[in-house]
């Protein structure tokens, strides 16, 4: 096709160009306060974030991986314990589990890329302490079923909401279902900082008070240390950036959802494209389709100036450290089959209409062209 319109996978410079002046003002307030770590920007963000997620508390931490890790540590999860999660997440979910000393136990996923609740129960053993559902691509996992299983077996639910800020399930925001919700504010997330950052939501008093110390060396105050903890705090500067962007989040989410609906409408005949179920509101951190001739399509799109990505080509259970745990090919057929077919299309609020149409046209062109072969 001619008349190439380049479509980057993500365009952060464009996002920041809209925020520039406001952002510099916010950064100046950090200098005036002289507080570069935690501080009032972080406290304000925690307050706003908790409200946004319908939780009592929020705790700013160094990154999304640490959010998961610190929650598990605070809940006493460690050696000899097992934690159930999905095999198709970012590696950090399993990494956080393994770093506590616990063993990650994987359960296959459904068409929506989220953990299949029907398969959870058979993975529960007497060592199981928690389930970490991952709201992958920004779509909520099937929480009602998961909550029931957790209740039946006395397990914690820790939500990996790293990709799902603002997503809803039966009108309730993710991060408010489990004992804790773990969010990443990494530069490539829907709500993103200018570096690594993460935040935890919880409505559990005890967990909150433990986390506040655990992220800051286990300190009760400047001079007294209750237990040996970690240094995983949210920088004030990143908190200020996030606070500014939080004001735009709803607007951005709506724009992204409109793009997703447009993609779905126009592409559903050629690829398997995601669409909201009645009871869910997905925030489409990724617009992940399943398609035939995936690698060819990706190459073709790139030749037309359109970037796309694969999240992720190798499921976690087939990565080297999981193989050591005894997992092998064939263990999770759905996740494995998806890994061969999935492709994430560009989706972010700054995409313009002609870029969106370019993506659609080129995918359609590819399939009409390849069908004739």
């Amino acid at each position: 096709m001619s008349n190439k319109i380049p479509v980057k996978y993500i365009d952060l410079p464009l996002q920041y160009s809209h925020l520039k002046l406001d952002l510099l003002k916010r950064i100046e307030t950090i200098f005036e306060s002289g507080q570069f770590i935690l501080g009032s920007e972080c406290i304000k963000l925690e307050d706003q974030f908790a409200k946004y997620c319908n939780s009592e508390y929020a705790v700013g931490v160094g990154n999304g991986t640490d959010a998961l890790f610190l929650v598990m540590k605070a809940l006493g999860i460690g050696i000899n314990d097992e934690v159930i999660t999905a095999p198709n997440s970012f590696i950090a979910t399993a990494g956080a589990i393994a770093n506590t000393g616990a063993i990650p136990v994987f359960v296959d996923v459904r068409d929506d890329y989220n953990i299949n609740p029907d398969l959870i129960e058979e993975a529960v053993t007497k060592h199981t302490k928690a389930i970490i559902p991952v709201h992958l691509t920004g779509r909520p996992a099937d929480m009602n079923a998961i909550i029931q299983i957790a209740k039946d077996h006395g397990l914690f639910i820790i939500e990996d909401a790293a990709q799902a800020i603002g997503a809803e399930y039966f009108g309730k925001k993710v991060g408010s279902f489990g004992i804790a919700g773990c969010f990443s504010l990494h530069p490539l997330k829907n709500l993103n900082a200018g570096g690594d950052a993460g935040i935890i939501t919880t409505s559990d008093d005890e967990l909150y008070h433990t986390l506040i110390k655990l992220r800051n060396h286990g300190l009760r105050n400047r001079d007294e240390c209750d237990f040996w903890g970690y240094n995983s705090r949210l920088d004030s500067l990143q908190a200020a950036i996030i606070r500014l962007k939080l004001e735009y989040l709803e607007e951005w989410t709506e724009t992204i959802r409109k793009i997703a609906h447009r993609y779905h409408e126009k592409l559903k005949d050629v690829v398997d494209a995601p669409v909201d179920k009645k009871y869910e509101k997905s925030v489409y951190h990724l617009f992940m389709v399943q398609c035939k001739q995936r690698d060819k399509l990706q190459k073709y799109l790139l030749s037309q100036g359109i970037e796309s990505k694969i999240h992720y080509p190798i499921p976690i259970h087939l990565q080297k450290p999981a193989k050591k745990l005894g997992y092998k090919k064939g263990d999770f057929p759905v996740a494995e089959s998806q890994a061969q077919k999935i492709l994430s299309l560009p989706i972010y609020p700054e995409l313009n209409i002609s870029q969106i149409e370019t993506v659609i046209k080129n995918i359609k062109y590819f399939y009409s062209h390849s069908d004739k072969k």
Binding site: I30, F31, I91, P187, D196, N231, L237, Q319, P321
Partner: protein, 365 residues
Amino acid sequence: MKVSYSYLLEQFSDCDAILEDIKKLVKTGDFTLGKPLEEFEHLFAQYIGRDYSIGVGTGTDALRLSLIALGIGYGDEVITAVNTFYSTAAAITTVGAKPVFVDVGDDYVMNTDLIESTISQKTKAIMPVHLNGCPVDMQKVMTIAQTYNLQIVEDTCQAIGAEINGKKAGCFGSTGCFSLHPLKNINVWGDGGLILTDSKKIRDKLIILRNNGLINRDECEVYAYNCRLDTLQAIVGIHVIKDVNKITQNRVENGKIYDEALAQIKGVTIPPRKKNVKNVHHNYVITVERRDELLRYLIRNGIDAKIHYPIPLHLQKASEFLGYKEGDFPVAEYQAKHILSLPVHQHLTDEQKYYVIDKIREFYT
């Protein structure tokens, strides 16, 4: 007059050049790892004089990841000083090892004569802490480490630029660990840390460990951590490290001025200053009589004096499980009740320094 402990406002009163470079970073949209980080790592390695430098999330993580990279964990023991900041002991315990404390000398750093008696079959490493900017006797530590086949991980968080016989602290151990916390001598605008080493093997491990165990975007070698130095902070670091000699020199000179004047005051004891050692005075610490009264007096007079730290690690609640008790480390315990840290940063004016000295003299007469 006000003499504050922090110097951030003065240090960054004109930060337009830094903000310009940050704006350039924003235009690339590349906020994680990448070129500015590599540049800063290189500048830092060059300054300290080691082959490799790996940016990480915090100074605490620098210690933690060093231990993990060296294979230290459950069942192992690591020897360190009892009067350090929490994170030294926390780094040891959070990898699963047990911290074994050693008392300190008059110079507030590890008494190396006491190390050997704490070595057991489980000891895997010594973690000397160059506290306050004062280097530990590394010659001695290295001899012991060689004799007993132990690793050395240097906690250099407070001692950027400190030297022993002209060799920089952080160059002696398997790794040297640095903090870039806003209140360190070389600082960034949030948490940050660095690990220095000459071993390519350790460097290669750390590069993977800090980035979720990934060897490329899609392949994971080992379950690991997310512990990266923000690229934005690396840009701040690139600017600040240009001033390292000036910052260090100012602090050393401030220390000398204090030393000479305060040595004359009865009630104040200046720690011994070894000739072969360059103390970079991250904290300027003295031992004083009627400490708490003096502290209150100075604060009342606008002088932001502090205590680093009032409770030694073995007496913290977090140490209960280790079984230590009061009396186990008499020197550190005595110091905890008598030490005082004076503002010593590079932006102090002469007026401020002499004001501090005058107020201390006034208190004791």
